[in-house]
């Protein structure tokens, strides 16, 4: 296999990895906020269910969760799996897992807001929703950005766990080529890819933090 063919295959894998990355963020960031609301709910049943959910998602290996999401429907309901469900399962598994982590980040960010901000908004007549959207959440975003950055960087590397469902993203392909060609090169390319991807992520997050540094 020529280097260019190898590179071409690896590039296909990179795109898939990036797809997993972006879709996971797209779903888990809003879902995490919803879960955070559930976690802070006045309803004790909801609050407890969410608490257990978060604890399980954070307390078991992501790889195991991916396997459960993928094979679960077959073992539990005898549904046929495979085909396009492989990709769905990966996005679902990643999103459910990362949403749990983001939920805890949102929650601590919201809890860290001074009560005076709520009170000022209330006296000024803001409704609950307006108060959250206009006053609280923008400040929470700034507070949690460093923690979110950590998770996002972990996510870049975690996308490689998709190999456990034999999904053809970067890491799976690199492993396949390396085994077939007894060639170490694919791993080097993979390492460079993850590293550069993370550098880019770091730059984006830093820019975001700078943008929000107009106040403190």
């Amino acid at each position: 296999m020529s280097f260019s063919v190898m590179l071409e295959q690896l590039c296909g894998g990179m795109l898939k990895s990036m797809e997993i990355f972006f879709l996971t963020l797209l779903f888990s960031l809003p879902l995490g906020l919803l879960i955070a609301f559930g976690r802070m709910s006045k309803n004790i049943v909801l609050r407890t269910v969410i608490k257990v959910y978060i604890s399980v998602m954070r307390g078991t290996p992501l790889m195991l969760q991916l396997l459960v999401v993928y094979f679960g429907p077959y073992y539990l309901f005898g549904m046929s799996i495979g085909g396009s469900y492989r990709f769905t399962a990966i996005i679902l598994g990643f999103s459910l897992n990362y949403a749990a982590y983001f939920a805890e980040i949102y929650r601590s960010g919201i809890a860290s807001m001074p009560v005076g901000q709520y009170e000022a908004a209330q006296v000024l007549g803001y409704g609950k929703a307006q108060r959250f959207v206009r006053i609280i959440f923008p400040q929470v975003v700034k507070r949690i950005l460093p923690s979110v950055t950590n998770e996002v960087i972990t996510l870049v590397k975690d996308t490689s766990l998709s190999f456990s469902l034999a999904y053809a993203e970067m890491f799976t392909i690199a492993k396949q080529i390396a085994a077939a060609q007894t060639n170490f090169m694919p791993f080097v390319v993979a390492a460079v890819f993850y590293y550069v991807f993370n550098l880019a992520v770091a730059v984006v997050m830093e820019t975001l933090e700078k943008k929000l540094s107009y106040y403190h």
């Binding site: 001074p114 005076g116 009170e119 006296v123 007549g125 803001y126 307006q130 006053i135 923008p138």
Partner: protein, 253 residues
């Protein structure tokens, strides 16, 4: 008709009564100062009036409209929806520590609620806000952020923010207590200028000379009760042990 009426207000925290059957009323255009030792319940009383705390007894009326009262089950009843919104629009509150929105510029702090809550026209609200800033002596700070201002400037912005909603009555909870001594003057000056405009105000303060000069009426509170109430000179010059003791601490310090 009284603009504000608080009748037989009781407020307890964890079974401990902090406000013990207090009644006050404020007429339109009146300036009422509340003085008293720390922990006597002054802030709690203002927080009850501004619905930041739920009362455990009594009733609150704005312009005769019931803003809070005790229901048949002994639980406080507060209006909801549009009614609540209307009653809230009657009052504004200036906090001890300003509570400006740090992510908004000075002007945005002032215009946001009138535009987003009261749904007033942008243009008009901005013009009014700029006029307010001018009155506060902060025209050049329009685009600054609260973190770039001094405490005195922050408090003046907070006053402008409250005024922008055109409340009928403005509450102040120790507006100068968080400020360095050299910055209190500028805030007191602004409050005095509001008094000249006949804006109804209830001011909790430790600035005794200021309270004496500005108020139509003064209330001296201690341990959750009103001890004395009357014209400034009647309260400040009263031959009453508790107030003499209280004022003595200020004269010595």
């Amino acid at each position: 008709m009284n603009l504000l009426e608080m009748n037989h207000i009781v407020k307890e925290f964890d079974g401990l009564e902090v406000i013990k059957d207090i009644s006050i009323s404020v007429k339109e255009g009146e300036i009422l100062s509340i003085i008293g030792p720390s922990g006597s319940g002054k802030s709690t009383l203002l927080r009850c009036a501004t619905m930041l705390e739920r009362i455990n007894g009594g009733e609150i009326r704005y312009l005769g409209e019931r803003a809070a009262y005790l229901g048949g089950d002994g639980k406080p009843v507060y209006p909801k929806g549009q009614e609540a919104k209307r009653i809230r629009s009657y009052f504004g509150l200036v906090f001890q520590n300003f509570n400006l929105f740090p992510h908004y510029s000075v002007i945005k702090n002032i215009v946001d609620a009138p535009i987003k809550v009261q749904k007033r026209a942008r243009q008009e609200v901005y013009e009014e806000a700029r006029a307010l800033l001018k009155k506060m002596g902060l025209s050049d700070k329009e685009n600054a952020y609260p973190c770039q201002l001094s405490g005195g400037q922050c408090q003046r912005v907070a006053i402008a923010r409250a005024l922008a909603l055109n409340p009928k009555i403005l509450f102040f909870d120790e507006p100068t207590s968080a400020l360095d001594p050299e910055l209190t003057g500028e805030v007191l000056r602004v409050i005095r200028s509001l008094a000249d405009l006949k804006i109804t105000m209830v001011i909790v303060t430790h600035e005794m000379a200021f309270a004496r000069e500005i108020s139509d009426r003064v209330i001296f509170m201690d341990k959750g009760k009103i001890v004395l109430e009357g014209k400034p000179e009647d309260v400040f010059d009263a031959d009453h042990t508790r107030i003499r003791e209280f004022l003595g601490r200020y004269q010595r310090g």
